[in-house]
Symmetry: C2
Subunit: 513 residues, 2 copies
Amino acid sequence: MTQKEQKPRTAISPTREENYAEWYQQIVRAADLAESSPVRGCMVIKPWGYAIWENIQRVLDSKFKATGHRNAYFPLFIPLSFLQKEADHVDGFAKECAVVTHHRLAPGKDGKLVPTGELDEPLIVRPTSETIIGASFAKWVESWRDLPLLINQWANVVRWEMRTRLFLRTTEFLWQEGHTAHATSDEAVVETMKMLEVYGDFAENWMAMPVIKGEKTEGERFPGAVRTYSIESMMQDRKALQAGTSHFLGQNFAKSSGIQFTDKDGTLHHAWTTSWGVSTRLVGALIMTHSDDDGLVLPPKLAPSHVVILPIIRDDGSAPQVMEWCRTLAADLARATYDGRPVQVEVDDRDLRGGDKTWQWVKRGVPLRVEVGPRDMAQNAVSVSRRDRGVKERETIGRDAFVSGIVALLDEMQDDMLNRARQFRDAHSCRIDTRSEFESYFASASQDENVPTPIHGGFAWCHFCGDPAVEAEIKNLLGVTVRCLPLDAPAEEGKCVWTGRPSARRVVWAKSY
Amino acid sequence: MTQKEQKPRTAISPTREENYAEWYQQIVRAADLAESSPVRGCMVIKPWGYAIWENIQRVLDSKFKATGHRNAYFPLFIPLSFLQKEADHVDGFAKECAVVTHHRLAPGKDGKLVPTGELDEPLIVRPTSETIIGASFAKWVESWRDLPLLINQWANVVRWEMRTRLFLRTTEFLWQEGHTAHATSDEAVVETMKMLEVYGDFAENWMAMPVIKGEKTEGERFPGAVRTYSIESMMQDRKALQAGTSHFLGQNFAKSSGIQFTDKDGTLHHAWTTSWGVSTRLVGALIMTHSDDDGLVLPPKLAPSHVVILPIIRDDGSAPQVMEWCRTLAADLARATYDGRPVQVEVDDRDLRGGDKTWQWVKRGVPLRVEVGPRDMAQNAVSVSRRDRGVKERETIGRDAFVSGIVALLDEMQDDMLNRARQFRDAHSCRIDTRSEFESYFASASQDENVPTPIHGGFAWCHFCGDPAVEAEIKNLLGVTVRCLPLDAPAEEGKCVWTGRPSARRVVWAKSY
C-alpha cells in the first residue's frame, strides 16, 4: 500500500503493468472511443473513435485508388448455397454465422411479435464477401480485356464471436475488403504482395506502428486461400496483433464461382483471384501501440484534431482578448496543410475547470495542447505540450515560430512515435535456439486465469521445421503460434527449435490477439 | 413501322415515351451503375454508380459537419424488444424485417448445413436506428450540458420489399441517418427544419433537381414521428419522388428509450429528438431527373469524371504526338478546382472503335467529351460536346480558352440542368379547383398493368380539407396522394377539390414512387 502511494498518479487505472487487459478497456472508455451495446458482441463506435476510423479510411481509400482500384458495393446477405461453394471456406465460417431465416414479424399466440415469413433459403450476414462478389465477377469477366478487375468494398461484416473485446474482436465490425481477378497466377501474386506493401506502408508511416510482413502458416491461412500474408505488430504487452491480411486465392474461388475468361488465343481459363482487408481492429492496434498510463496517444497523421488550444480565462476582464488571440492563432495554424488536410485545431472554450479540460484532451490523445493566458500573450508566446511526452512537460515557443513550425513539429512527433514503437519491439525481440529457452521465454508466471498475466515474452525469431503438428503442439502447450514467415528473413541454415529438424530460415513466434 | 424507322436512332431503347419504367432499367444498365444480385431485392452497386454515391456522401458529409454533427456507428442488429418500445414504430416496420434467429451452421440430418444455435431473442437487421441509437443517447445524456447531441451515421439498412427497383426501392440500401436530441421542443423543430433545408440545398444546387419542401400528411408520416417533412421532386414521367425526409419526433422516442436530462434548475425532463435521412435512392432520382434517350446525364458537381478526352488515333504515325497533347491538356485541366475538388479528367486511350468509345461515355453521362485529332492540334483547338445537348452537337473552342474557361463551362452546365428541370416541373404543374378536372388530370389511359402507363398528369396544386379518409379514398381511386403541404404555399382561402370543405392553402397532389 505504501508502495502504491509513492507511485506518480496516472489518469488511467489500472496501469499497463498492473492489468494490461483492463488498462485497454479503460483507455477506450477514457478516450471516449467506443462502448458495448445492448447487442451481444456489437460495439457502438463513438464520435472520437469514428473520426479516427474516418482518417484511416481516407488515407487507405486514396492508396487503393492510386493503385487502380475502384469502390463498389455488394449485398449484405449471402445465400447459404453460395457460402457452400468453396468447401474450406464454409468450414472456416460455419461456426460464426448470423443467419437470417425470416422476413417479417407478426403477433404469435400470446400476442407478442414473433418471426414469420420463413425464407426458402437461409441468408448469412456476410462474414466476408468472396462468394457473393465472385458471383458478380463471373458476370463481369468475359475476355482478357476485362482483366485485371480491381475492386474494393467498404462495409460492415459479422462473425459471431464468443469472446469479444472493443475494436479487437467484435461480432460486427467495419472493414474494407479488396477483391481482384487476374489473367495469370503471377499477376495475382504481384497484386497480393502489392496490397501487403500498401498495408505495411500505412501501418508504419501513418499509424507509426512498425510491422513485420510475412506469410502465415497453413494453420492460420484464410479459409479457401492458397497463401495468406499478413502484417504483424507488437503491442505493449508484447503480444502480436495481426493488423491486415492479403490472400492469394489461386483459382479456388474462380472455380467455385465460375470466373472464366477467353484469352487472346481464344481459349477459356479460370481467373486468378486475391482478397485483402483491414478493419476497425486497426483502431485497437493504434491504441495498444502508443497509449500510456494517462490515456490515448494519437499519431498526428490519424488524429481527428492536431492541436487543442486551451485559453486560460481569469476573472480580470481579459477573457475577450484571450479568446480573440486564441481564435486568430487557430486560424493561422489551420492555414497549414499537414498530410493532405488543413491542420485541425480546436479552441476549447467550455466553461470547465482548466485541469479537467486538460486531462480530457490528454486522455483523448490530441498530439499538441497549447495553453494561452495573458502572460503568454504578453510575450507573444505559447506554452506547448506534446502528448508523446510527460503530461507535465511543456515548452514555451514564440507564437510565430510555433505557427510556422507546426508541420515540422507534427512530423517530428510522428517520426518519434514510430521510432519509439520500433525500439520497443526490437527490445522485446530475440533469437532463440533451444527448446528450454523457448519455453521459459513464453511460460506464464501463473496459470490462474483470474490473475492478470504479467507482461513478458515478445517476438522470438526461431528456426522451425514447418510441421503443422508441431505448431499445434506448441500452441496447445504455450499458447504461442508462428505469427509469420517474414518476407525479409535472410536465408540461414538452422535446426528447428522444437524438433531439431533442418530449417532454412527463422520465423516469428509470439502470443497473439 | 415506317414511323419508327423515321425516328432518330437513340442509344436507349425503349425511349422514355415508349416505356418509362423499362427505359429507367436500361439507363441503369447502359450507364453501368448497378445490377440485380442473386439475393432477392438486393442490388450490386457497380463502380460508376458507387462513385456517384461517394460524391453525394462527400458533399452531404461536409454539410452535416458544417452544421455541427459528428459521425458515429451503431449496431446493425436491433433486439426485437427494442423495436417494440415505440408502438407505432414497430407497427410500421414489422412487415418488412429481416430477422436473425440463429448464430451458426451445422450439418443437419441429411448432412447439409442448417442454421443452429438459436438466439434467445431474435435480432432485426436495422430498418432504421431510432431505437438502438436511443439506447446510447439515454446513456450519453445526463444534463443540459450534454445537449444538443448531434449525431449522424452512414450505414446500410434493410427493409424487406416485395417489389424492388434498382436504387429506387431495394431490400438493402445505403443511407445516412441523422439523430439528434435537444433540450426543448423549439430547438428540435429548428434542427428538423435546418436539415430539411440542407437536403433542399443539396438537391437543387448539387443534384440540379428542384424540390418542394413541405410537411407530409398523417398517412405518410414516419412511424413514431410527430411531424415528417420531405423534399419532393418531379421525375420525367411526372411522378413525384420523395428524395429525403426530416422528422420531428417530439418526446416519443425519448420516452420509449429513456433519454432524460437534468435541466439548469435541477428538474428532470425527457429530451426532444429528430431524425433525418437520404439514401442511395438519390441516385435513382438523379437518373430520372436528367437522363435522356441516349443515356445518363450527370450534373457536373456529382459526376465522377467531368471531362473525357478522346484522342483520334490514325495509322499515320501521329499517335504519339496526339497522346502527348491529350495528356498535357488533361494535366492542365486538372489544375483547376471545381466545387472543392480538382477537375476530374480521363483520357480514354483504349484500343476501341471511336464510335463505341464515344457512345460509352454518352451513356455514362460524362458532362464534357473532348475529341482531339491532328486537325484540332494544328489549330490549337478542341472539339467539345456537352452531354446536356444533342449527341451530335459539338463546338470547336481554342485549347487555352477551353482550359481557362473549364470551371465556368461546368457551372453553366450545372445551372442549365437545374433550370431545365425546373421548367419541366413547372410546365407540368397546375392549379386544379374542380373534382372532374382533378380526375381527368390523373386518370390513366389504361387500367391494364401490362400496358405501359402513358406519361401524363403532374403536380396538382389543390385545396384539401385535410381529412385522412378523403386522402385514402383518392389514393384508392386514382393512385394519387398528397406529396406534401408545401412550406412556402401562400395562405389562400379555398374549397377542398374533393369535398368542397374549406381549406386555408393548397397542397401538392401527385402519383409517386
